[in-house]
Symmetry: C2
Subunit: 342 residues, 2 copies
DNA sequence: TTGAAAGCGCTAACAT
DNA sequence: ATGTTAGCGCTTTCAA
């Protein structure tokens, strides 16, 4: 094993090794400006044999350009945000931009700290989940003088750009579908995350439409921690034991919905005849359950891609803030479309 | 809405606003050196009202210290790596260090590119998945002269530190458990990822031990893409249709195992009497299935935490490379321990 | 306890 | 096509 380099190599080293000025070395390494093929080859050769890696810190300071895009998300704990990140990655892959992630754990003050830290790297853009932020956070976003995209949710006023779905509309849409299928005694189960504004908005959208039809949620329950699948099972059992007349269960995510589905399936309950079910997110995973759970796609990959594209366009000179609302479709699966009764 | 700042604020601005030298402002903002309470207050006040955010680019260049830890992983497509990231995050949270992620999609050349890009930020340490890298990648890791931790896998020679489990041993251990329970006609299903060295090593460990007992895998099948749960179902059906005498199915991950389990459960197959099953990863999700699938914990969170701690220790002065092998335990669940036959 | 000077490694701008 | 100069915004080092 070779010894570790005591001091990282600099342009000066490559310059010395190749007999070319630092400036020209820099030009070669960045493919900028006219450089003769001969010197070009010399420089590349020297850089490679030395194992030179450019110092972006110095480069960014000098050029006043930082090829970083800050991405701030609440959690890595389910597949939702990793998928968004994948979308962002896909788009940025072919550009000089690199994503840098920060995780807030759904906490406003942590969001503030993370944003502050990440802004201190002077990124070229920010992608941040949600529209609800502290005043300080909004102020930082505005003062940063860089493109900002707020993602996931479009029910609110963005600082700059936004792309997502309307979770309120999603809840409403689901309520209409439920009513149309003739269900009327409805239970709700979700995570107890007071900070999850999107789940809250879906719930509000649901209850709004139901209320207009004179219907109220008859039971609700919340959980936190543990295996979502197991929780879905337990909560479903408990809710139906306590409210045997329910004919529809709306879950705030597909995993607990899947748990409920498995439980009811094992009990031999007629789905969707006696009880209908729906979740949210459109996780690919569901395609292996005994029944396909009704759900709604949260457009995670598309949101990530769109957000990254907005950043690129804004950096490319476009100046109009973009507000993109994607339209998730209900996927009825096998648990929402009631058999027609004779 | 206020206008956007045309030029980001600098220390100079805070200095001017507070009537204190740049140097002292810098000291206050970093809590370094002795500063009188009076000036301290003045500076903080000025910084806050201006909305000053320090420039780490400049700071890092001047101090030759970059509080970044590079984290290079193959994928965000399942929960394995997000969980590792969570572990890393947890540990780094209370330190000045920030993780920066890069994704390789299980491709060596992409790993090389990503590492090069990320090293150009001069991070203080690198955490990278796996032990199999291109020569260029290994050379960069060595030359970087920073602590490197290779994670997940300990079957091989690390550049510097490593922490993970032996996937070969995991496969062996599972083989022994399978044999001990009296199974002998074994099928294997996994992802067709030639680059997933860890899955390969588990498979090799399995076949080694079986071979010593004079047993060969009787059927194997691989998939790529699509819903793992659905694939598990399909593949299981196909494999058993073609090989009805199999009495054990080993899956390279829990999701396809869960699919197989659901299928067999619906078919009324006696599990684990007629057929035993096992997966790998120990995903929490499994706790809601009709039977608990046998599996092995991949220690993802622990690996992330240990890796981050190693980085901290090495940066703190410790100089001994650490090689940590965690020991996953088989979780027998309900699908591996055969009922005793009378 | 505070300030002044020098320089981190690179690139923009201007020579040649 | 190549080189020179100045300076990015901060911190280290030294002086007061």
């Amino acid at each position: 094993m070779t010894d570790r380099a005591p001091r990282p190599l600099t342009l000066r080293d490559v310059s010395a090794a190749s007999g070319v000025s630092e400036m020209t070395v820099s030009r070669v390494l960045r493919n900028r400006g006219d450089v003769s093929e001969a010197t070009r080859a010399k420089v590349l050769e020297a850089a490679k044999t030395l194992g030179y890696v450019p110092n972006q810190i110095a480069g960014s300071l000098a050029s006043q350009q930082v090829n970083l895009v800050a991405v701030i998300i609440p959690s890595l704990g389910n597949m939702v945000f990793p998928e968004v990140l994948t979308g962002i990655n896909q788009v940025l892959e072919d550009t000089p931009l690199q994503p840098v992630f920060g995780v807030t754990d759904y906490m406003r003050d942590k969001e503030e700290r993370v944003l502050y830290e990440i802004l201190s790297w002077r990124p070229s853009g920010v992608i941040i989940a949600g529209l609800e932020h502290s005043d300080a956070t909004r102020a930082m976003l505005k003062n940063a003088a860089i493109p900002v995209v707020e993602i996931m949710d479009t029910d609110g006023n963005p600082v700059d750009n936004m792309v997502g779905i309307s979770h309120r509309a999603a809840g409403q849409q689901m309520a209409r579908a439920i009513l149309k299928q003739g269900y009327s005694r409805i239970g709700f189960m979700g995570t107890s995350m007071p900070r999850d504004h999107r789940a809250r908005k879906r719930f509000e959208g649901l209850t709004e439409v139901l209320a207009k039809a004179g219907i109220e949620i008859e039971a609700r329950d919340f959980y936190s921690g543990g295996s979502a699948l197991a929780k879905g099972r337990e909560m479903t059992k408990a809710m139906l034991d306590a409210n045997p007349d329910l004919d529809f269960l709306y879950y705030s995510n597909d995993m607990i919905g899947a748990g409920g589905l498995l439980y009811l399936f094992e009990q031999g309950v007629d789905i969707p005849g006696q009880i209908g079910l729906a979740g949210f997110n459109g996780v690919e995973l569901l395609d292996g359950l005994p029944r396909r759970l009704a759900t709604m796609d949260a457009c995670r990959l598309d949101i990530g891609r769109a957000a990254a594209n907005i950043i690129l366009e804004r950096l490319g000179g476009s100046t109009e803030p973009q507000h993109i609302t994607l339209s998730p479709k209900i996927s009825y699966g096998d648990t929402l479309r009631r058999q027609r009764r004779p």
